[in-house]
Symmetry: C2
Subunit: 376 residues, 2 copies
Amino acid sequence: MDNPVCRLTGAEFPLFAFSHCRDVVAAVSKAGGFGVLGATRFSPDQLEEELAWIDAHVEGAPYGVDVIVPETIDPRVAAMADNAARAAAIDPRYAEFAADLLAQYGIDANRTVAPLRERMGITPENGMALMEVAFRHPIRLIANALGIAPPEMIAEGKRRGVAVAALVGAKEHALRQAEAGVDIIVAQGGEAGGHCGEVSTLVLIPEVVRALGKAGYDTPVLAAGGIMTGGQMAAMMAAGAQGAWTGSVWLATPESEASEAFRQKMVAARSRDTVRSRSRTGKPARQLRTAWHEAWDGETGPGTLPMPLMGMISEPAFARIERAAEAGNAQARDLVSYFVGQGVGLVEDVRPARAVVQAFREEFVEAAMRLAGSLG
Amino acid sequence: MDNPVCRLTGAEFPLFAFSHCRDVVAAVSKAGGFGVLGATRFSPDQLEEELAWIDAHVEGAPYGVDVIVPETIDPRVAAMADNAARAAAIDPRYAEFAADLLAQYGIDANRTVAPLRERMGITPENGMALMEVAFRHPIRLIANALGIAPPEMIAEGKRRGVAVAALVGAKEHALRQAEAGVDIIVAQGGEAGGHCGEVSTLVLIPEVVRALGKAGYDTPVLAAGGIMTGGQMAAMMAAGAQGAWTGSVWLATPESEASEAFRQKMVAARSRDTVRSRSRTGKPARQLRTAWHEAWDGETGPGTLPMPLMGMISEPAFARIERAAEAGNAQARDLVSYFVGQGVGLVEDVRPARAVVQAFREEFVEAAMRLAGSLG
C-alpha cells in the first residue's frame, strides 16, 4: 500500500501494533505491519536492551517506540522530587485498602501493599529519558501520549527523519498537535484499551480528519480504538484514516506480555466487560472490569490517587494477583485484569502475531471488495 | 443498491432515517432513502393522522414506523394502572426540584412542574396500540426498541409482508431477537442519540454480524450510532452492515421537530458535548449535555425516576424551557437539550433532508472508491 503514512514510516501495510513486548514488535514489522514498542514500563537501561534486541531481530523492517511524556502533572504530585518522595506521600489507607481487597480473594492475607519506589513511573522526566534512548536506535516513528509532544521530540524527529506521532482523543487536541508540528495524528476513540477519551472512534476519525483539513493541515490520521480485525481497519480507512493503530489485539498472541490467565479471560470476555476507570493509573483508562475496579470506583473506597501515585499502589497489587493466579488460586483469577479495549469481545482465540497480521490483510481486502461491490 | 435489506424494505439506498417528523420521513423516502416515523410521542389518533399524511405525500416510496414496546417494566411502576395513577405516585419533591432548577434559569419562577397526566408514555400497552395503527398503513418496516419485539408484531409483520426490525445494543440481544424471528437487526452503538448501550458502533457491528452468522442466522444488520455522513455509512458497510440507521442527523434539517434554538446548539456542539443520562426518560439515553443533566445526575439531586415517570416530569419541564428560549430568555437557551448522539460534532449546518440524502450518496461513493483505491 502506498499512502503518506506508509511513506513517512516505511510500513508496507499501515497496521501499527502497539505492544510492550519486543517479540510482538519484531514479528509484526517482519510481517509487513509496523511494530511500536511501548517503553513506559522500562528504565532507560532496560529500554536500551529491548531496542538492541529488536535491532538484531527485525531484519531491517521499520519499527517505532511509544513513550509517555505527560504534558500536565497533577498539582498534588508536581512538588514531589522522585518516587521515594511520592511513596512517602501516599496515605497508608490506600495501601491498606489494596491489601484488604487482595486478602478477600485469598491473596497474601497478612501482607500490606508497599507502594512501588524503585521503578519508573509516568512522569515527564522519565518520558524524556526514554526518548533519548529511543533516538539512539534506527526507529522510524516515535509516539507520545497524554498531551502535546514535547518540542525536543519534534525537533529531534525532524533532524533524524523520524516521524513523530501523537495520540489524541478529541478534535481540539489534534489541532494543537498539528500546530506543534507532529507528523502523524493517532486519533483514539473511547472504546480503546488504556488511556482514552469518551468520543467513539467512528465519530472521532471523520471529525479529526475534517478539522485538520479545514485548518489547512495535511497531517495523516491513524484510527485507534476497538480495531481488532482488518474489516474494521478498512472501515476506518473508508472513513478517512490512513491506517490503524492497534493494541489490545496483540495481547491475545503467545508473544505478548499478557499472562495466560489474562489471555483466557480475553477469549471469554464480551465487549461489555471493560470499564473506563482511574483505578489503575490515576487517569481514565479502559481495562477488563473486575472487583478491583468496583472496589476503587465505588463509594466505600478511599477514592483514587493521581498519576503516578495510583500506579505505585496498583502495579504491585496486580503483580501479586498475577502470581497468585498462576499459582492456582482460582479467586485470584477473578481479579486478573489488564488494559484492553471493547474490541476484546471480538477475540476468539490466541494466535501468533504473524497470523494476526495476515488475517488483517485478508479481511482488509475482503472488506474493500465488499464495499466496492455494493456500488454494483 | 441491491442487498437483502433493500429487498426486504424496498429501499433504493439503505439509509434509514428515524424521525419524529413526517416531513423528514417523506422527504428521505422520496430521495431514495427510507424514512421511519418514530411513533412514541403520538396517541393512536395522532399517529393515524401522521401516517395518512405520509401516505398522501410519499409518492409511493417505501417508509416505516418505529414504536417502543418495552419488554420489561420497572417493578416500581408495573402496578400503576395509568398515567393518572403514575402522576399521583411521584413524590412532590421531584416536581419541586425541576421547578427550582427552571427558576434558577429565569423560567416560570413561581410555577411548579405538574407531572404529565394525559399524554402517552412509553409503556407496553401504548406501544401495542400504536403498532395496530401502523399496520393499517402501507408500511414496509416496523421497528421496536427496548427489548424483544412482541410476538404479535412479528406474526403480523410476517402475515402482511412487513419487515420487522429491532434495535439492540449488545450481541446477546441480537441473538435473542433473531431467535424470536425478527427480520432486520439494528445494532446501535453507545455513541447514538437516545436510548443506547455502552459498546461502540465500530465494535458492535462486526461482533453482532459474526455472532449471528456463527449461530446460523442470516438476519441482516443495520449499523446505528454516530453515523452522520456517507463515509461513516460506507465504513460500517465495509465492516459487515447492510445499511445505516440514523437519527440525529435529521434533527439538523429544517423539516425536523427540533427547535431553532436546538438546531443552533447542534451546529455549535462538539462531539464531547453529549451525555448518557437517565434524567430525561428514566433509562440511559444520550442527549446534549446541559445543567439539567448535571443537576439530576449530581449528588445533591433527588436521583432519577424509573421510566415512564421520569419523562412525566422532564417533558413538561423541557417544553417550558423551549418556550422560554423561543421567547428570548437567553438563560433558558442554556438548558435547551434533546436526544442526540456524539455525531453532533460532525454537524456544520442545517440542510434540507433531501440534501442530506444526496450528500450521503456522494460521500458513500467517494469512501468506497477511496478504500478500493488503497488496494492499488
